[in-house]
């Protein structure tokens, strides 16, 4: 048999029926299935809700700035803290992390998009409509049972208006959004990694997003069931949570927290991932204990499914149950402690370049640790009996979620903004924003530990002028405004740098992971060539190879290359 000549082989024919016209910008954003655009949509929407939730927080703090204040009615106050908590959790932190994941997971693993681009777009739009469903309740009655919506308070007998229903539908829509997004992340990470990128070479941020996805898949069905039961209780005469008809208010708490506690780690694990990317880059060192950090991430996720009743220590539970949940909660401190030590060890003997992302990264380490320590104190149930449902708890979870998650988000924003826009954020404004948020945060929340210890419960719209409550609350309110100013500086920085920031180039930080291999912002297909991955830090390898090739070429011009 003879080989046919090339000219005789069938040729692929490309027929262009029409050249698609470039779509209008807004239409392009609305119809996009590009993971990067969807990521930006997520982040912008989440940031807007961050500002909205922040304004709600400021209104709450104004009300509490003075004893027996009449700035807000009790009804408005309850609506505000409900909307604040719900917004920050469901419409800011989780979607913000999903946004980072959307933008950077495919880039970091060397993929050209997510596994299911259209499903990805659906996730975003479900999230947006969930948010809209919640916020249209502003025009009738916003929910007012707290972000936990404990039954029976949230049942139709006590809150018959539609606010709770809006809250339920928001949970359903954003939950579905997160569930589809989580499946998408999982499939993408499992199947679309660059050649050579085994599980042991997966960037730690991607490990974090993978764990985030698994936790979402495990936890979300429970809250979906719980809010559906609440909905049928409210409208169709079931009595799941009605004690007078054989239901159980405690059941709501179990179901809610079975989701609610993993949700905390859903919010913080991607933040851990961001920190694990930022610290090595700015200390010019490899991450310390890659395997330990990845393993600790998975361990935290597993344990987080076993600690839910530590939110219920004051309910009627047997001592055996209390002891179990105390132990499981405290054990989480071990993998978390491992991570903190690994991060500090990453900085140790490095050459720390104090750019804004590292500022926020170190801020995260310093104050997330405080939140972790107060968390261990709260896990000790005899102490929790005094501390739960007071401002001590409020201080604790704000240290975890603001000092933790928000610092990580800001670190990620300053780190990745050049990649997303091609322009650098201003370092001066970034550092100003850091110091303002740093000061504002601690002034706001450190004293709240004391407010709680003085006996002030959370979720009360007014308090009597006893003890130090007035001065402590006033300090807290002042801090909240400083914190808000810090956030405002970053918002201005972002808007300003979009047009006027210094041009970043593909790899302004000399970073380690594949997203820095492509241009800033990356082209729609991300990579023309996908490099083979040979370590956890592929960009270091690539830079080294380039340097060697350049040196060799320079050398060969001068003298012959040795054989």
């Amino acid at each position: 048999m003879t080989t046919p000549a090339i000219k005789d082989l069938p040729r692929p024919q490309i027929v262009a029926h029409a050249v698609p016209r470039p779509r209008k910008a807004w239409l392009d954003w609305v119809t996009t299935v590009d993971h990067k655009k969807i990521g930006i949509l997520y982040m912008v929407t989440a940031f807007v809700f961050f500002l909205v939730g922040g304004i709600e927080a400021l209104l709450i703090r104004i009300q509490l700035g003075a004893p027996d204040n009449t700035f807000l009615t009790p009804e408005k106050y309850n609506q505000l803290f409900t909307m604040h908590g719900t917004t920050m959790i469901f419409l800011f932190v989780v979607p913000m992390m999903a946004g980072f994941g959307n933008y950077f997971v495919p880039l970091m693993i060397g993929a050209r998009d997510m596994a299911f681009p259209r499903l990805n777009a659906l996730s975003y739009w479900l999230f947006l409509f969930g948010a809209i469903v919640l916020y249209v309740s502003l025009f009738f009655n916003p929910p007012e049972a707290g972000w936990t919506s404990y039954a029976p308070l949230s049942s139709s007998a006590y809150l018959p208006n539609g606010g709770i229903d809006a809250w339920i539908f928001m949970v359903h829509l954003t939950g579905l959004s997160s569930l589809l997004g989580a499946i998408n992340f999982y499939v993408t990470i499992a199947n679309m990694r660059a050649p050579g990128m085994g599980w042991g070479r997966l960037p730690l941020f991607v490990w974090a997003i993978l764990t985030f996805a698994v936790l979402l898949i495990l936890a979300l069905p429970t809250i979906a069931a719980a809010v559906t039961m609440l909905l049928t209780d409210r409208h169709f005469g079931t009595h799941f949570f009605d004690a007078s008809r054989g239901g159980s208010p405690l059941l709501w708490q179990h179901l809610f927290w079975f989701f609610g506690h993993p949700e905390v780690y859903i919010m913080i694990l991607p933040g851990f991932g961001i920190i694990s990317e930022v610290l090595p880059v700015f200390s010019r060192k490899p991450i310390f204990g890659y395997k330990a950090i990845a393993a600790a991430t998975v361990a935290i996720a597993f344990l987080s499914l076993l600690v839910w009743a530590h939110h219920m220590f004051a309910t009627p539970l047997s001592t055996a149950v209390l002891a179990f949940f105390m132990l499981s909660s405290m054990i989480i401190a071990v993998p978390t402690g491992i991570k903190i030590f690994n991060w500090i060890a990453t900085l140790w003997r490095g050459t720390l370049e104090f750019k804004t992302p590292l500022y926020f990264g170190v801020g995260f380490l310093a104050f997330f640790t405080l939140g972790g320590v107060s968390g261990v104190m709260l896990a000790i149930f005899p102490l929790d009996w005094q501390l739960t449902d007071t401002y001590f708890v409020v201080a604790h979870f704000h240290y975890v979620l603001v000092a933790g998650a928000v610092n990580a988000i800001f670190a990620g924003l300053y780190y990745w903004f050049p990649k997303m826009t091609g322009r650098m954020l201003s370092e001066g404004m970034g550092k100003l924003s850091f110091w303002l948020t740093f000061a504002g945060f601690n002034v706001t929340f450190l004293v709240q530990h004391s407010i709680g210890l003085e006996g002030m419960p959370r979720r009360i719209y007014e308090y009597a002028d006893t003890g130090n409550l007035h001065v402590l609350n006033l300090i807290s309110t002042i801090g909240a405004f400083i914190l808000a100013l810090g956030v405002f500086v970053t918002a201005v920085n972002v808007l300003r740098s979009l047009k006027r920031g210094a041009v970043a180039g593909p790899d302004p930080w000399k970073a380690n992971t594949l997203e820095w291999f492509t241009t800033s912002p990356p082209p729609p297909n991300n990579f023309d060539v996908i490099p083979r991955v040979r370590s956890v830090e592929p960009m270091k390898d690539i830079r080294r190879a380039v340097r060697r090739a350049t040196e060799e070429r320079a050398g060969s011009e001068r003298r012959p290359v040795k054989a």
Binding site: G289, V334, A345, V447, E462
Partner: protein, 269 residues
């Protein structure tokens, strides 16, 4: 942060949970102090290490970052270290638990033993001498029922030196019983019995608290006080309260024919 920590110390009475009214609150406070010391040692250690690291290892000319990928021995070391702290905290917690959870013996003065309260697993008072009070949380008031059926609202009156066992329930939505100086909070949940106890020896003391679980718009004003009186004064108070209630019942019974019957309320349930 040191400056803010200094502020916290300034309000010295605000660095621990309230105590001083009852042995369980006092023992909670003791446990808190032990845990706080351990926590501060850990916190200061970690923050100090972090601070040293970020100052010591700033980028300078001619300094190279050490390319270390890990150190198994060190990592095993701090894992065990963190584990040990958890073990110590657990032991400390369990040692102090009985003093917080189990009621103390009543004083010798009086007894209202044999209170008729059906219960599943209330705390057991050594010697059995105790005062049982049913605490009922309702939007937005606390109701207390004494063993003889006498009841009062908002202000609970108890005899000094007597172990008081509370059975806590919610009437409508979840509430939480909390008098900080008399111990921790216990949720009042419809359909469930929850228990706690306290014992105060200070005649004349008044302890204040309030509902600690969001129960609706007026949650902030669901207040509670506990007034401690001498045992004879308690008996007297109980008798006069009973007389008041009886008189009021008689009055309303007499007035009943004068009132038109209430119309049936249309409603969904």
């Amino acid at each position: 942060m040191p400056r803010a920590l200094g502020l916290a110390v300034l309000f010295a009475d605000a660095i621990g949970p309230q105590s001083g009214g009852s042995p369980n609150a006092d023992k909670t406070h003791t446990l808190w102090i032990i845990v706080l010391i351990i926590a501060l040692i850990v916190l200061i250690g970690v923050e100090g290490l972090l601070l040293y690291t970020v100052i010591r290892f700033r980028a300078r000319k001619h300094r190279m970052a050490a390319q270390i990928h890990g150190n198994t021995r060190l990592e095993i070391g701090w894992t065990i270290g963190a584990g040990l702290i958890v073990v110590v905290l657990t032991i400390v917690a369990f040692i102090s638990l009985p003093g917080i959870q189990d009621p103390e013996k009543s004083g010798p003065q009086i007894s209202l033993a044999g209170a008729a309260v059906a219960s599943v697993n209330p705390p057991k008072v050594p010697g059995g001498k105790q005062l049982r009070i049913d605490v009922n949380g309702q939007q937005y008031v606390w109701r207390y029922t004494y063993p003889d059926g006498t009841y009062s609202y908002t202000e609970m009156v108890v005899p000094a030196g007597e172990a008081v066992v509370l059975r806590i329930r919610g009437q409508d939505v979840d509430h939480s019983w909390w008098i900080p100086k008399l111990g921790g909070k216990f949720d009042a949940i419809p359909g469930y019995d929850n228990y706690t106890w306290f014992k105060s020896n200070q005649v004349g003391a008044i302890y204040r608290g309030q509902c600690a679980e969001l129960c609706g718009r007026n949650h902030a004003n669901m207040l509670a006080t506990v007034r401690v009186v001498s045992p004879p004064a308690f008996k007297q108070w109980l008798a006069s309260k009973k007389a008041q209630i009886n008189a009021a019942n008689k009055d309303s019974a007499a007035a009943a024919p004068l009132l038109s019957p209430l119309p049936a309320r249309p409603g969904r349930r």
